[in-house]
């Protein structure tokens, strides 16, 4: 290619070796030059490759051959050259022809070749075979076209904007939507087309998608189109945005429908379930879950058989039946006994049908819990039943009075209650009035009129008289209904019989009145008469009382009759028809058995059987018995009389409750009679006591539980100098009139009284009103254990006491006076003994000894007597000191042992310190020892025992002699007491033990005896041990 078209102009290609090499290497590019006419002047390898001409073949030939004939006809080659000359270069893309005349798509650019002067001498063309890319482009174009067609044809809108929001593309639908032509918008900014678009929400979204370079999808309802649209905004790579709008109104409608359906299902109170042909539950609505007690959705996947209580077999049978029904009429309805998750059984009403889903048959079941309805149905049935039963049980009738038309409708029962029949009662209020007992009629109609006028409920108790004369008590209660003006138009009510209750009321009233009568008088003859009168006419038409007389017969003691004139007749009747006590029934039988008799309804047959003869029969029939009761009156379980109640034709018919009342009355009468008898007895006792009380032989007082004197007789008052006023004001108290030193004794006596309940007597003193003391014997007994009220008898023993004092004084003087000569006697005897001492006469010595013993004995007796008198005078003195018991015991035993053959045996340690009067205590011990010797003449021993206890020492002297009976134990220690039997055989004054007991008690000790007759006695005494000596 080093050849140049002209010699003068250097060839660009040949001159520039470097470029030449580059151009040669560009095998994909055809590069050639032409002269200004288009004749080829150079050729590269690429040109050969692309156009098929070799350098040789084409140099010097016109480059126009490369153009298609069409292009050549249209002078395209010339135009291209001209265009290049005008603008400096020319560019084209068109089909070109190869050497073999095949066409290829090529792009080419034509440059001017200028010489050094700038004069154009040729052209360079660079051409590229674009066939491959052209094919691609064609495909793209086709695709584009297709897309375009699609976009144009679709019902969705499509718009594309460039980066400056200019319409780049808009499809037909979109143009339609915005009501513009494509031409109106393409290439224009959306902001110009829609100046206010920035405010549009959908635009804002698209703007957001553009700005944030992300896809945004949105569904919205277009007001302009009245359609639901789905908008998709896609930012494009070149900074533009494509918007795709599809009409989703249909989908939305479907969705909405679905949503509504779902809402309906979810909100239904009926349960809905869907299960497949195998019975597996696929869907449940919330109500279904709730009805069956499952959590939401918990039933899904379970078999629907678990929802009911039936067995699998039964379920299959049911399903079969359901299937048949559905075949026949498209659905099945019925009740199911179902079970909840927690096991509760309940009933549903179900409607089942079939539906095909995804080619599979499904059961659709809609059901409703009707347990409550069932229950209320049941309740309603029950309450209706109850009402019916109540009416029936209550023996009630119902009635309806149409006030305006004056027409009363009755149920059968009401007819029966009024003692009439259908057809005999015309239903008018006037006719109704005729049925009411005349005594109740006025009151009844006042009530009815009141209820009608005031339109208020109404109730009444009234009597009706049946045709057979029977009087029946009825109760009726009604509601009054008014019309719109408030005028009563109708009354609805129920009526039932209350005869029994009324009679019971009458009975009760009678009983209470009768009780007053019974208890008002203690004279029972009067009582019975009053009673019989009281029974007539409420209880009986005729009432009589018979009392048993001493001969076993009866005597009519009281009679009352409804008709006063018949009283005489009744008495007369009894005289002419005396009671035959041999009769098997009636009054004689009641007396015999003590059992009541009742004949609720006396029939003529019964009278015929009872009558003894024709005359009596006629008489009895003429009385017209209706009902009879005969009741015994008893006293302490023995029949003492009989009370008879009779009603005649118009009267009432006795019932068991009447009999109960009659028996109750009889028992009250019995009680009253018993009371009267008791009262008489008490009265007699009272009289006896009163005589004693009033006779003033003895003082009597009544003391309350607080030892207050509440009552006292004259004798008592006189004795103590108090007044009746002081007693009545209850200011006098036992303790107040008792010297201090006697309170303890009194207390002891009261305790005994309380403990044993037996009367007690004791000696004491009272303080008189003049403050002198008066010695008395008091006997006291409980009147009432509960109230602790006591009666006390008081006997003045002042005289006895004075006598005793004189006696004791006498004894004192006498014993002193006795001692004086005894002293002389003793002296003389001793002088005599001394004078005769030397005679050595044994007999004389013996005589002196014996004389001395008896002098000593006499001395002891005198000493004892003196002691007694001193004790009585309270002048016995004690010389208390500390001493050892051992010396006392040893001395005492020594003293007695010397004068007896009994062996005195000592047991126990007597080495104990005592505080007391040693001589007095020795006197006691010696007394017990000498008694032991004295009363056991045949025994050979006496046991003395010393026992030491914690606080005291006990000394006992036991003999084995005659013994003492228990009844003498206490009295032994009394003054001058001697056991009778022994008194004959044993000498003594009976004062030794008395003195001993006084001495021991003064030492704070106790003396007592235990003995057995014939075996001997043991006397004990104890003494407190001096505290310091306690071990």
């Amino acid at each position: 290619m080093d050849r140049t078209p002209t010699s003068k102009k250097p060839d660009f290609i040949s001159n520039t070796q470097f470029f030449k090499q580059v151009i040669e290497s560009l095998e994909d590019y055809a590069v050639f030059t032409t002269d200004h006419k288009g004749t080829v002047t150079s050729w590269n390898q690429g040109a050969e490759n692309i156009l098929g001409y070799t350098e040789k073949e084409i140099i010097g030939k016109s480059s126009f051959v490369f153009f298609t004939p069409g292009d050549r006809r249209n002078k395209i080659p010339q135009k291209e050259i001209q265009n290049a000359l005008n603008t400096g270069s020319s560019r084209d893309e068109r089909y070109h022809l190869r050497k073999d005349k095949s066409r290829f798509w090529a792009s080419g650019k034509l440059f001017l070749l200028k010489d050094e002067d700038g004069k154009v001498y040729g052209f360079t063309k660079i051409m590229r075979d674009l066939t491959a890319s052209k094919e691609m482009e064609n495909k793209v174009n086709k695709a584009y076209e297709d897309t375009n067609n699609i976009l144009e044809s679709i019902s969705d809108a499509f718009v594309s904007f460039d980066r400056e929001w200019k319409y780049r593309y808009i499809n037909k639908k979109a143009a339609e939507i915005i009501k513009k032509t494509k031409e109106e918008v393409l290439g224009k900014s959306v902001f110009d087309v829609f100046p206010n678009i920035e405010k549009n929400e959908v635009f804002q979204l698209s703007y957001k998608a553009w700005k944030e370079k992300k896809h945004i999808k949105n569904e919205y309802f277009s007001q302009a189109m009245q359609r639901w649209l789905e908008a998709n905004f896609y930012p494009s790579a070149d900074g533009g945005l494509s918007a795709y709008y599809s009409d989703i109104s249909k989908r939305k409608d479907i969705e909405k429908n679905l949503q509504i359906q779902a809402q309906v299902l979810e909100s239904m109170t009926e349960g809905v379930s869907l299960s497949n042909s195998k019975g597996i539950i696929k869907y449940t609505n919330p109500a279904e879950d709730r009805i069956f007690g499952y959590n939401r959705g918990e039933l899904i996947g379970k078999h629907h058989f678990i929802q009911n209580i039936y067995s699998r077999r039964k379920n299959n049978l049911i399903m079969g039946e359901i299937d048949r029904q559905i075949e026949k009429k498209g659905y099945w309805t019925g009740e199911f006994e179902n079970v909840k998750k927690d096991g509760t059984i309940f009933t549903t009403f179900a409607r089942i049908s079939k539906v095909e889903i995804d080619g599979e048959m499904h059961w659709v079941c809609l059901q409703e819990d009707i347990t409550k309805r069932k229950q209320s149905e049941q309740k309603l049935r029950e309450s209706e039943e109850r009402l019916r039963l109540a009416l029936e049980a209550g023996n009630m009738g119902a009635w309806d009075w149409d006030i305006a038309n004056n027409k009363i409708s009755w149920t059968d029962k009401v007819y029966e209650l009024h003692g009439t029949k259908k057809g005999e009662f015309d239903g008018s209020i006037e006719e109704f009035n005729k049925l009411i007992h005349p005594d109740d009629s006025n009151k009844m109609f006042q009530l009815i009129n009141g209820a009608v006028e005031e339109v208020k409920p109404f109730k009444a108790e009234f009597r009706v008289r049946h045709r057979d004369g029977k009087v029946v008590w009825l109760f009726t209660e009604a509601l009054t209904l008014a019309d719109a003006k408030g005028k009563a138009v109708r009354m609805l009510g129920v009526t039932f019989e209350i005869t029994e209750r009324k009679n019971r009321e009458i009975n009760t009233r009678f009983l209470s009145k009768a009780s007053k009568v019974i208890y008002s008088s203690l004279d029972y003859q009067t009582t019975l008469n009053n009673l019989a009168s009281l029974a007539v006419p409420d209880i009986a038409d005729w009432c009589s009382v018979d009392m048993l007389d001493e001969n076993g017969g009866v005597e009519l003691v009281a009679v009352a009759h409804k008709d006063p004139e018949k009283v005489k007749w009744a008495i007369e009747l009894r005289k002419t028809n005396p009671v035959d006590m041999e009769d098997l029934t009636g009054l004689p039988n009641v007396i015999r058995t003590g059992q009541s008799e009742m004949y609720p309804l006396v029939t003529d047959e019964m009278i015929k059987l009872a009558a003894k003869n024709a005359k009596q029969l006629r008489l009895l029939l003429s009385i017209g018995f209706r009902s009879v009761m005969i009741v015994p009156i008893k006293s302490y379980d023995k029949v003492i009389g009989v009370i008879t109640f009779v009603t005649t034709q118009t009267g009432r018919q006795y019932t068991n409750s009447d009999l109960q009342m009659a028996e109750e009355l009889a028992s009250r009468i019995s009680l009253a009679i018993e009371n009267a008898k008791l009262y008489q007895q008490v009265e007699q006792e009272r009289t006896k006591f009163k005589i004693l009380y009033d006779s003033n032989i003895i003082g009597v007082m009544i003391i309350d539980k607080n030892n207050r004197i509440t009552q006292a007789n004259e004798n008592f008052l006189k004795l103590l100098g108090y007044t009746n006023e002081e007693i009545e004001s209850k200011s006098l108290h036992w303790n107040q009139i008792t010297p201090h030193e006697y309170l303890e004794i009194d207390e002891k006596a009261y305790r005994g009284l309380k403990k044993t309940g037996d009367a007690v007597t004791w000696e004491k003193e009272f303080i008189k009103s003049n403050e002198e003391n008066v010695p008395v014997i008091v006997g006291c007994a409980l009147i009432n254990k509960r109230t602790q009220e006591k009666v006390a008898f008081v006997l003045d023993i002042t005289e006895q006491k004075k006598l005793e004092e004189r006696k004791d004084e006498f004894i004192g003087i006498a014993s002193h006076e006795l001692k004086t000569p005894l002293t002389s006697i003793k002296g003389y005897v001793q002088i005599l003994e001394k004078a005769l001492r030397d005679t050595n006469n044994e007999k004389v010595k013996t005589l002196f000894n014996k004389t001395n013993i008896y002098i000593n004995k006499l001395d002891e007796l005198i000493i004892d007597l003196l002691d007694v008198s001193k004790i009585q005078a309270g002048k016995l003195q004690f010389d208390m000191m500390d001493f050892n018991l051992k010396q006392l015991i040893d001395d005492g035993i020594g003293y007695i042992q010397a004068g007896t053959s009994h062996k005195i045996i000592l047991e126990g340690d007597s080495n104990i310190n005592i505080f007391g009067d040693k001589h007095r205590l020795e006197q006691v011990f010696v007394n017990l020892l000498s008694n032991a010797v004295k009363y056991s003449p045949d025994a050979d021993k006496i046991k003395v025992k010393i026992t030491r206890f914690k606080d005291n020492v006990e000394i006992s002297v036991q003999d084995f002699g005659i013994g003492i009976s228990k009844k003498h134990y206490d009295k032994l220690f009394q003054r001058f007491y001697r056991v009778e039997k022994s008194a004959k055989n044993f000498s003594g004054l009976g004062i030794g033990l008395y003195i001993s007991s006084k001495i021991i008690s003064r030492h704070g000790g106790r003396i007592w005896v235990e003995s057995e007759l014939g075996k001997g006695s043991t006397f004990y005494f104890n003494l407190p041990i001096k505290k310091t000596d306690k071990k």
């Binding site: 014993s815 002193h816 001692k819 004086t820 000569p821 005894l822 002293t823 002389s824 006697i825 003793k826 002296g827 003389y828 001793q830 002088i831 001394k834 002098i855 001395d859 005198i862 000493i863 003196l866 002691d867 003195q877 010389d879 001589h919």
Partner: protein, 117 residues
């Protein structure tokens, strides 16, 4: 010879005591009541007094007191005798020098007198 004044209202006792003690060599003067005791001691002071407690007029107790409170008579032993059981106590109280319960053994009488004279 010792003089003993014996006072008792009982003739028998005075007789017995006189007999018994005279034999023992005492000179016995007997009186029947308190006044006589006081009268007697005015003329002759006894070596010992034997006094019954229960005597008419002045009681034995008062007489003992008279003796024991009188300086001139204080030294004279007074022995009381009585049927009263509490004689020992009384003797102590009235400050008698000795006592003798009635009835007594003559031996005891002699012994107690010997104790003092």
């Amino acid at each position: 010879m010792k003089n003993i004044l014996v006072c008792d209202d009982d003739e028998g006792i005075l007789d017995v005591v006189k007999m018994a003690l005279s034999d023992e060599g005492y000179n016995i003067l007997t009186v029947r009541n308190g006044k006589e005791v006081l009268k007697s001691i005015e003329t002759q002071t006894p070596d010992l007094v034997l006094l019954d407690l229960w005597i008419p007029g002045l009681t034995g107790e008062k007489i003992v007191k008279t003796f024991k409170t009188d300086q001139k008579l204080k030294h004279i032993p007074v022995i009381i005798f009585s049927a009263n059981r509490n004689i020992e106590k009384i003797a102590k109280e009235v400050q008698a020098d000795g006592f003798l319960p009635k009835p007594f053994d003559l031996e005891d009488l002699e012994n107690i007198i010997k104790k003092f004279i």
